[in-house]
Symmetry: D2
Subunit: 495 residues, 4 copies
């Protein structure tokens, strides 16, 4: 997962891009980058690390220019290493930089094609570099000295035909403006807004609405699936639908875990969706055990707090902050002659004993992925004296890998893969395990915007909406992620 | 405020000290340091920054030795700068390092005395350096080639006679062991615990019990006011009361804001105390307006969550996470030709509009200090469409500076100083302002341990329990803090 | 001035490139970079600083691959800043990286042309980026999936037609090999050599032969003016003359100052040339004043030592190391409230008084550029008690700017520009000033290789051999260099 | 070997100390430190690295105060590691910082004594820390609130009685002034000078006169053996002889290799001494082989240039710079799967072939220590085509370790230890080996100041003038230096 932002402003946009990336930092803490355009020159700074560490005063001073784009990166398979920080850049045609959130599922074929047609060298394993080169190639084909909106849209139509997967992108064309687009299913989120200034209207495109809010932009709307926006340097905004059969099928996992609760995505308040998740979960609990003996509901901070509160409220039992999160986690050192000591979950999450001792506790989390952490928390609850430990997941069982840009483990590492709920319960050591039902999860989000007919739910049901995800592809993903687990170097981007 | 830890173990203690400092990081994020003792040599690493940044593998490798101490520093007036990272060290007698949490109120006199008696140079404004030298001087006076417990206790008795204020300390004597002590009023917290290993018993002394818990130590008890512990290298533990009229009067502000909720301090669960604060606050609200029109209770994260939940529960209204905290705050850059733009509170705390729009909202915070942040939050609530904005503080009005080690602004910067509740309400722009009553706050904490007859409440009532705090002293503090205030950071969250 | 190197080896070439750059460091201390090719991937590291600071173990580990190129940069007008470290890279076609030593005199026109023909964006003021894009464009035009030697030579022929100036370059084509070429006048130096290993023959191309020597390569020969070498990954070497009227007219200033004395350039030993400069200079001295009263010859270290020795020998007077060079020069700090203190020349060069006191001293330097340093040294000699201070320059008066890659000040900053020798003597404060005559300088170098019919002497006589250097161009250069001059560093010593 | 400096000025001395350390950098490139005194506060910055790297603007801003001291460190046995950068500091009495050049030979005894008498903990293996504590202890014994010159001299008399070895030191007493002293034999050099300003006279004490010269100080004289200077903050200078039988016996190796040629040491011009070394060496060559067949004399740069010129002049043969020194040496990387490749001498020193080919070459070096480098250079000369390779050393055979502060290998690593000249010649592979005779070396230096009756020559004749150097001590030194060769960590200084 990553966060992206693009701004066409009326004065230097460096500080705005910086602040916007700060608001999107939860989408990726691995690397950050900004590229701006000043006249016919592009300025950039990107590196591994948090936004606050990557950009120093000397960088900001160099990042002049009234339009630009930014990126925060989540470490995914094959994407780590300092040289893979985005935005990426090609100098032909025009000079184009691009920041990408998502994942392409036909990278290999496209990468070969693009070399044979245009001799374009792809230097990394990053699908973002491929996407940039496809777009650059399609734009170059029209060979205009000055690209017009129609040229860009023509290129974009070709891009959608060539690539598959989930992608939300912002690109910057040196000297001209910012391009933003979203895949034909709208899997990854993208919104835009505007702000009036004395010098005219400024536009911002971003992964989440919260970046708009905090910087004083008014949300205009989501970028539509398949739609392409082109905002010229002078502030003229063009937009066109560039996909053949666009259909809004956004990733439901954003609502479960990834997005900030104060964001509105495709018309749905994430906070509200999570409250509704809690309601539905409570109802399932009551259906399963109308006369349950739960004494207290304790959320696993931070993302399950909203759902947890609602569960407690519906059940009519106490809601308590019984687990304290430590936000200052240290490194794990390996000293000579000592065994590696795994940092215990407890350093991150410590139980307040008196909320556990002698009680029947319902722990609520947003989802269960590998199951290892939740197993440790359940044990911690028992050690703290809990009588019974129940566990509720606001999302259904995660059984399949994600291929559209969320860095989930491969299937075999998912605790729910190939296991029944009872088997999972046993594996994690809970006395009772309640999963949200998928229809309930869908309703929780869908209620916010009835125009969404379908969500991208593949991690729960294995249905990949792009229709082209083969066993072979999943296998190669599995290998990459496993290789990556051992050593996370990858190759370098040239610029 | 600072965090301290000392360990006498059976093998290298560097990793334990590191992990313990990580658990105490909420008590100070400004600087960190560790000193260990290996044979007759002392090893150290200290610098400005978070624990995770100050210690690298190469430092840890050097920090050999079976006993040592550590410190995390909160930036207080006159205490910043890399040269002031603790522990401090003097080489005479024996080589002694010390880490200190608190503040002495007669530093100036003691500092001059110590120079005249022993020609000891104090190079900083730090009272910690003074305290170390007083202890060193008193120990030196006995001129023993090998100090025994009784020598240390004799020195300690002299220390308590010479210095005034609040102090909890750990010291390390090269070649011998770890000393821990607490001022005669027990203003600052200090606990100790033990852990059995195959090689024998290991001891840890720390500011908060949570450090013991997480590292697998069992809490033995709080160090008593005036008590001195001396744990020899071989694990022999000595203890003695070294003050003349010790009396437990711990700082109540630890329970309001500073301590982690999962800590037990002087027998009181901080979490429980905060829940009780919420109960009492709710009762006051109901007393003041039995037919209030509050629609929703919204906590200001993170420290007021427990109290806020209890308020909501007692009032029988909804409790909602309506403010989203951004944990990734960036720098403030000043660009050439631009005015300094103050980071808005909103970058740190963004409202979820639908929890505010059209509602009568009760915001709950742990306390109100300068009032500037709370004023901005109230305005933010109004901008988000709140009908009425009420504000409740789980602590009474903060009217006086703290002189025992909490870095509060001087009196004139406190919004409540010299103002009535009504005037404060107007200043911060609330529609209704409810402060906890001091007796209720005291009861909230005192209920946890009825042996505490009195708390250190000076920030609320101006009564300084050491009885020696003059106007002149407060004035000098004011000056120091104002000099410092130019670059000050305001209140920092413990979590 | 810069140093370049390219290697096609039989195993990883990173360490060889590193060592070679170390041997070429005297040609540029401002920035350094290496790019290697491993399979179809390019790896790079470049940054501001000395070779020993730019490359760390973690970088070297990443720089895998059996062929690659490297660059050290001298700071020239408009070339500083980390973003301008070479090699530069374009991904289309094939992925090409290039390292360049020299300067193009028709950058502006070519840069516009290349955009209009191929929409290639040039993001910097660097002529190196332009040269790379011209080459890339010409190679792309042939649209071969796999470029053959003939394709590269065809592209090179077009390059020589389009660009003017002095340039020696190495380029790397991802997956294929290394290309090396020199401008049609051979202004900038370039040699190549080979080394036999068990796996086969390895080739190195470098700015100076000393890099070959030290790494165990045998010098094959200089790359001819206009010639292009293409060394394939498998070690096959192709070469072809690609210029229409190539003629060897190398820069004579390399022999005066820039090159290492142990290099052989275009068949001339730099050391020998400098000895001959000394002989000719001595003869002129004897012609001017057959009964001179010189007591001692003192060189200004390090570059004038060879010439100085020869002068002393011919004159039959003592030669003494009377000036001691400090190789550890510190920064210049500006303290608040203090005026900037210029580092005195004396910190770099201190006189041994007893070699000056009461004597008639002849100082020998390789050349006089701005005249400010030499004025200070003459004053220093007087302060040290010299009776008379004579000054001899092994090169003629430097009167014109260099446009082929040596970073000299613009004309108005040259002490000799528009001044007679007598006026210069007065300006620098010498009692006698002797300049080498240009024909003598030419003979000093030309004697080493009688096939060189002409040298590039423009800094002495204003004759620019490419025939296209206009007043307008010189003016723009002047402006660029003056902008830069604010923070400029003056002449840097190669050793 | 190390360099030290102390200044008592009329305004901030930070920049002067910085510049002075830059002038003394040749005496130590391993670490650097400055301590200044401003009112009753001491400011310091010290770290591993060159002066230009250790001090940044932010450090200089902190280093306020009108007096202070500085140090540059040469890595010696047991002295490396960042924590051993000098000056060292103790806070009792007064606050004293000290910078030391030399080595004590009775560290172990003194260290134990000082603990037993005063419980002073010595945390490192550094004799400098011991020396500081002895001085501090002796000064403390007099227990004066304000130390007068006489108190300091009394302390100094005691210091000279307790410690043995070679030492030149500057110390700073917080609030009072700078103390400088030299051991009773004057083994290590120390000079002082003064400078008049509008505010009064400023004093500087330094290891070498060149630091005085360049900063505009006039050399007053050398500090006498056993003498102590005390310069008060107000500029009053006191001096007294504090040793019982002082006698000037300076280290002759300073004249051979260590000192800068432009320094005057104990009245002797180092440059002149080296010229005389050359004369005497030439005479020996002529005595040994009156009809020698030497074609050319080639110095091994940089330190043997003066002697080499004189040799050539006396022999009447050519003198040529036939070896080119590369001043930019890179790191040695160890790549995975590769053997460590030793950097060849050739990367540092490359022969100009035509000065060697077919000639009988006399190489001149200042001295021969391990013999390994000189063996490689001789081989290099042969590879470059030399007919015969003769080798002359301006110093006699180095056969014994140095115990007074020069970091020489232990005896077994010295090529001359236990070997005849003929055996050494064979070992290094020369065709003829000429060593300076010790009496000639002594005359070369002694001629400059006939008041020096004796030099410290122990590395040549094994006579240790302090009369207390036992086999056991040499053995322990041997062990330390060998241990150190493997791993150079050492222990840490506490401040």
């Amino acid at each position: 997962m990553c966060g992206i932002v693009g701004i066409v402003g009326k004065s230097d946009v460096n500080l705005q891009l910086y602040d916007a990336l700060t608001m999107l930092q939860h989408r990726g803490q691995d690397a950050a980058g900004i590229v701006t355009c000043d006249g016919d020159r592009l300025n950039q700074q990107k590196a591994n690390g948090l936004v606050r560490d990557v950009f120093r005063a000397r960088h900001m001073q160099r990042l002049t220019g009234n339009f630009g784009i930014g990126h925060v990166r989540y470490p995914t398979a094959g994407s780590s290493g300092p040289a893979l920080a985005q935005p990426f850049y090609v100098n032909s045609p025009y000079g184009i930089a691009m920041a990408h959130n998502g994942n392409l599922t036909n990278v290999k074929e496209v990468s070969e094609e693009i070399f044979q047609q245009d001799l374009r060298h792809i230097n990394t394993d990053s699908d973002s570099e491929v996407l940039l080169n496809v777009f650059a190639h399609e734009l170059h084909k029209q060979h205009k000295l000055q690209p017009k909106a129609e040229d860009i849209f023509t290129a974009m139509r070709a891009v959608h035909k060539r690539v598959r997967g989930g992608y939300a992108c912002v690109a910057m064309i040196v000297g001209y403006g910012v391009v933003a687009f979203r895949d034909p299913n709208g899997i990854r989120p993208l919104v835009y807004g505007k702000r009036e200034t004395d010098q005219g209207t400024e536009y911002m495109v971003a992964s989440e609405s919260v970046a708009l809010d905090v910087l004083g932009y008014t949300l205009v709307r989501d970028v539509a699936p398949g739609e392409c926006l082109y905002i010229e340097l002078d502030g003229t905004l063009h937009s066109e639908q560039c996909a053949e059969n666009p259909q809004l099928r956004p990733c439901i996992f954003e609502h479960v875990y990834f997005a900030r609760p104060d964001s509105i995505m495709d018309g749905v308040s994430v906070h509200k969706a999570r409250l509704r998740q809690g309601e539905h979960l409570a109802e399932k609990i009551l259906r399963e055990r109308p006369d349950h003996d739960i004494d207290v509901v304790i959320p696993i901070p931070d993302s399950s707090r909203s759902a947890g509160q609602m569960v407690a409220h519906r059940l009519g039992v106490k809601f308590r902050e019984g687990l304290v999160k430590n936000r200052y986690i240290g490194r794990t050192f390996i000293m000579p002659g000592q065994k590696q000591r795994k940092k215990s979950v407890r350093q991150k999450l410590n139980p307040i004993e008196l909320e556990f001792r002698g009680k029947n506790v319902l722990l609520v989390d947003d989802s269960i992925v590998r199951g290892t952490t939740c197993k440790q928390i359940i044990q911690m609850a028992r050690d703290a004296g809990a009588n019974k430990v129940y566990f509720a997941s606001a999302a259904p069982a995660v059984k399949y890998p994600n291929v559209y840009g969320i860095d989930m483990p491969s299937a075999t590492e998912l605790v729910a893969h190939g296991r029944t709920t009872e088997e999972i319960r046993e594996e994690i050591g809970a006395d009772w395990l309640i999963y949200q039902d998928l229809p309930d999860l869908i309703v929780s989000s869908g209620e916010g915007n009835t125009e969404i007919k379908q969500f991208e739910n593949s991690v729960f049901d294995g249905e990949y909406i792009t229709g082209d995800v083969t066993e072979e592809y999943l296998h190669s993903l599995h290998t990459a992620r496993n290789d990556n687990a051992k050593e996370s170097k990858g190759k370098q981007s040239p610029m």
